[in-house]
Amino acid sequence: MARVVVDVMLKPEILDPQGQAVQRALPRLGFEGITDVRQGKRFELDVEGPVDDAALARVREMAETFLANTVIEDFTVRVEAAGPQEGAPA
């Protein structure tokens, strides 16, 4: 089984209040030097069968029609080694 990742981000010209809220909070928490933050979505899809061009094309269609709203969002699709998400550093 393979994992395909779809990243969806608001288009640059669309206001991202969540990213801004994060950015504004960082200095208060003592983190300086972050000039911009944008927050988007990450979808991890477990795909049955081989992730060939045809499969990727299907995922792209899925992203285009469903996972992203292309009126306001951009997306990228990529294959990732499957398996559990790397744990958080302790």
């Binding site: 206001l15 209040p17 969540q18 469903f66 996972l67 709203n69 009126v71 306001i72």
Partner: protein, 225 residues
């Protein structure tokens, strides 16, 4: 013959009973429509109610847009049937591309429930004929993702064609571009807005009864048609 107004129930619809009640108070015959049903049961108009259809997971209205009933609603709307989308219903209409633009997270990131003043700018749609242009009304607003966005060209076009139906007064509650609270399609039969006129139809439970004309407007339009 009474006019039949359908209200769609998606899983997660919440204000469907309120919309049905508003139709009844306005003098129409409320008809319940089910999301899995492609048949609209001879209704004359459709309301897509507020709520969190399919939990509003992914994006508000995104999953509902692909429900069987929406196939028929989209077809009929294009053929001229009056369709009103309230809050989540507005989001569904945008996701369906019956209306341009999209609704995004409120700029302050909180859900907001308040009595909202609005100006009715376009009193010439199927759903607003019982208002007069420029009339100021107060109806409840309640949402977490009510910020209306569209690209500048679309916004200019909406303004130029008078397709902004209602606009926020006394402060923008969510960061909507150009204070837009609701819009219509070019034909004027499809209207979407974030505020809830169906919660302002009785003095007992609403801040005003100034939401009622949305429902009486469409009844008159259909009788005259």
């Amino acid at each position: 013959m009474t006019t039949r107004i359908g209200v769609v129930t998606f899983p997660g619809s919440l204000d469907d009973a309120d919309a049905l009640r508003a139709v009844r108070i306005a003098g129409g015959e409320p008809v319940t429509l089910w999301h899995r049903d492609t048949d609209l049961h001879q209704v004359d108009a459709v309301v897509l109610p507020g709520g969190f259809s399919y939990g509003d997971y992914l994006r508000c209205g995104a999953i509902a847009r692909f429900s069987p009933v929406m196939g028929t609603v989209i077809e009929q709307a294009r053929a001229g049937m009056p369709v009103l989308g309230i809050c989540n219903g507005f989001q569904v209409l945008c996701e369906s591309h019956l209306l341009p633009g999209a609704l995004t997270r409120n700029d302050h990131l909180h859900f907001v429930c308040r009595d909202q003043r609005l100006t009715v700018e376009n009193a010439d749609t199927a759903w607003t004929r019982d208002y007069s242009a420029g009339q100021e009304i107060t109806v409840p607003l309640k949402n977490g993702e009510g910020g209306y966005v569209a690209d500048e060209r679309t916004l200019d076009e909406l303004e130029a064609e008078g397709r902004v139906v209602v606009r926020y007064l006394d402060g923008n509650p969510n960061g909507s571009r150009r204070d837009i609270a609701g819009i219509t399609n070019a034909a004027g039969n499809v209207v979407g807005l974030m505020p809830h006129p169906e919660h302002a139809v009785e003095t007992l439970t609403g801040p005003t009864t100034e939401g009622l004309p949305f429902f009486t407007s469409v009844l008159k339009q259909l009788v005259n048609a």
